[in-house]
């Protein structure tokens, strides 16, 4: 399915606004979260993206109430829930892996939250059946977790979290234990269900492709802080900091000279994302999509030898060795990439898209 970026209003209840205000949390001397501010609009899916150990899980657990904040607040729908225990926060949570109760069938797992609320067996099984249908698993209702694949188990976990009609949905790397194909499928499935229910959702992942594919907005974290929050396009094309530029998407780092609000890279003048960048020697972060290739003869600063090509479906990536500058990665339609077999000579071209520059020592 194609993901729309506007939350559907088809849900039975409108999502709530969730505010994370200056959340801090340290483990011993290690600050896991160093003042996190983030607002999730009603019904919105925000992905928290960042490298391992940057504090994503900690942030999610503070919101869930599974961990206490040293300072800061969590406000849901205008109500401060910072002091509430997890059991009274009304949040659905999907864990990384294997969190289903192994002695219960899918249906019993999904109905469990309703059972805790004292709902009668008939009623809760009917409701659990509905939610299982929502995640496309009606046929597996009587299976035990060990009789299902990892992907099916995670769908049941999603259904279990949604069955209690929580105000907020929290997902901590729900796909990381699955293989690539199932991962992409389930990712779209989660997005479909989230839009259908219209629930405010925080989705934690270290996989940038996943974050860009499912989220309304992406928050990029580094060392316990948010570096940038924005739409997937913003984060990808207009990274606010060098860290975001490097972490999100593949990138080339090419020597550049910054002057007069633009950067000169391999003799080509490119606009800057941040025109206030200090003049002088720098490295420009250039996306593979901004690098074009043409067959070439002879020599020149922009001509090199193809060292590898990798096929990714509709597009292919070609790595070109430019000698002293190093190698440059270009991305082009697979139909064109056929002309650049390893060993071929190619001339690179840089599209005039805004670039981020980093200092060479960074």
């Amino acid at each position: 399915m194609t993901t729309s970026t506007t939350p559907a209003s088809a849900g039975t209840r409108a999502g709530a606004e969730v505010r994370l205000e200056s959340l801090r949390r340290s483990y011993g001397a290690v600050p896991a979260l160093d003042g996190l501010d983030l607002v999730l609009h009603p019904g919105e899916l925000v992905a928290l993206l960042g490298p391992s150990g940057c504090g994503k899980t900690t942030a999610l657990r503070l919101v869930a109430g599974l961990e206490d904040a040293d300072s800061g607040r969590v406000v849901v729908g205008g109500r401060d829930v910072t002091r509430l225990p997890a059991s009274r926060r009304d949040m659905g949570m999907v864990f990384q892996a294997y969190s289903l109760f192994p002695h219960m069938t899918s249906l019993e797992n999904v109905a469990f939250g309703l059972r805790l609320r004292g709902q009668a067996a008939r009623e809760r099984h009917r409701r659990a059946g509905e939610v299982l249908e929502l995640v496309g698993l009606s046929a597996q209702a009587d299976r035990y977790p060990h009789q299902m694949s990892g992907g099916q188990q995670q769908r049941v976990a999603l259904a279990r979290a949604l069955a209690i009609q929580p105000t907020v949905l929290l997902l901590d790397e729900p796909l990381s234990a699955l293989d690539a194909k199932v991962r992409a499928q389930l990712r779209d499935e989660i997005r479909r269900v989230q839009l259908e229910v219209g629930i405010t959702t925080l989705f934690v992942t270290h996989d940038q492709e996943e974050a860009l594919a499912v989220a309304d907005r992406v928050g990029v974290m580094n060392s316990g802080r948010l570096e940038q929050v924005g739409s997937p396009t913003d984060v990808y094309h207009r990274p606010a900091t060098p860290f975001v530029a490097e972490f999100v998407g593949l990138s080339n780092k090419l020597p550049a000279t910054v002057a007069d609000g633009s950067a000169e890279v391999l003799g080509v003048r490119l606009p800057l994302v941040d025109p206030r960048a200090e003049p002088g020697a720098a490295l420009a972060v250039v996306r593979p999509e901004s690098v074009g290739l043409t067959p070439a003869e002879g020599d020149g600063p922009l001509v090199g030898t193809v060292v590898a090509t990798s096929f990714l479906g509709a597009v292919s990536r070609v790595r070109v060795d430019l000698g002293p500058v190093g190698t440059v990665l270009a991305q082009l339609p697979t139909a064109e990439a056929g002309r650049f077999a390893p060993g071929a000579r190619a001339r690179i071209g840089l599209r005039p898209e805004p670039v981020v520059v980093v200092r060479p020592h960074e």
Partner: protein, 285 residues
């Protein structure tokens, strides 16, 4: 039909040969001897006399005592051992507490026999250290209780508890913290977590361990033999009497019949053990 798969499964037996040989030599052979000779007299003629002997009132009472002793010491060991194991399991997985506890339990679980009996006699026996100490305080521990069933229960618990810790710890380790957190986020209390998740999940492992402890106590001999020098209050001691007593000379096969009775009881316990294990093992992997 010599598909590579069939060959593979046929070859996979080879690795089990030493084990099967061991089982045949030290388990199947003696057991069949016990079974066959239980139905034979000293001249190897078939007879039911030995087996009929099992119905003698004092033999029945020895079986009753054995079963009661094993059951009570198993329950005490299982309950206290489970609590101890839980304390150990909630600590740090590589922590000092855990390393010391598993090491100590490993030793104590094997600590039965003469040494253990002596340790108890020296402590709470008629002239024991603690007995004399308490006597000064006006408390009387002395008496023959240590050399009867209550004493055996106490002494057996001494190795049952650490055995339980060793057997139950892996099951507790299999309980995932996410289950508790999932219950919490679904709105459940600690009590609801225990009632609906932890206890049902651990019950098979607990029952399995209980049966193992039962069999362990039922088959124990050395500790009781060291503590009780004559008579046959429990079955293993009856067997001793049958094998050594002058009165029963020429009737060693009565001992085999007693052993047959024990084999049957242990077989029932192990059958039940296999049944409950099959369920729980899948859950707590």
């Amino acid at each position: 039909m010599t598909s590579s798969r069939a060959t593979g499964s046929r070859l996979s037996w080879i690795g089990a040969v030493p084990f099967l040989g061991y089982v045949a030599l030290f388990l199947l052979l003696p057991t069949s001897l016990v079974v066959v000779q239980s139905f034979a007299d000293a001249q190897n003629r078939p007879t039911l006399a030995n087996v009929r002997f099992l119905a003698e009132p004092y033999v029945v009472s020895a079986f009753g005592n054995s079963i009661a002793l094993s059951a009570v010491s198993a329950v005490i060991g299982a309950v206290l051992g489970a609590v101890l194991a839980w304390v150990v399991a909630t600590g740090h997985p590589d922590g000092t507490l855990r390393r010391i506890a598993t090491a100590v339990c490993g030793v104590l679980a094997q600590f039965g026999g003469v040494t253990l009996a002596f340790a108890f006699i020296a402590t709470v026996g008629t002239q024991g250290l603690l007995t004399l100490l308490l006597q000064d305080l006006g408390l009387d521990l002395a008496g023959p209780w240590l050399y009867r069933l209550p004493g055996l229960v106490l002494v057996y618990s001494y190795f049952q508890i650490p055995l339980m810790v060793l057997v139950f710890l892996p099951a507790l380790d299999g309980v995932r913290p996410q289950w508790r957190e999932a219950v919490e986020t679904l709105g459940g209390s600690t009590w609801q977590y225990l009632r609906h998740v932890a206890v049902p999940l651990l019950t098979p492992a607990f029952l399995g361990a209980l049966l193992l402890l039962f069999a362990n106590a039922f088959a124990a001999y050395a500790t009781a033999a060291a503590l009780i020098s004559q008579g046959g209050v429990i079955v293993p001691l009856q067997i001793r009497t049958a094998l050594t007593s002058e009165v029963l000379l020429g009737r060693e096969n009565v001992g085999k019949a007693l052993a047959l009775g024990m084999v049957l009881v242990v077989a029932v316990a192990m059958y039940l053990y296999a049944r409950v294990q099959a369920r729980g093992a899948r859950w707590l992997r």
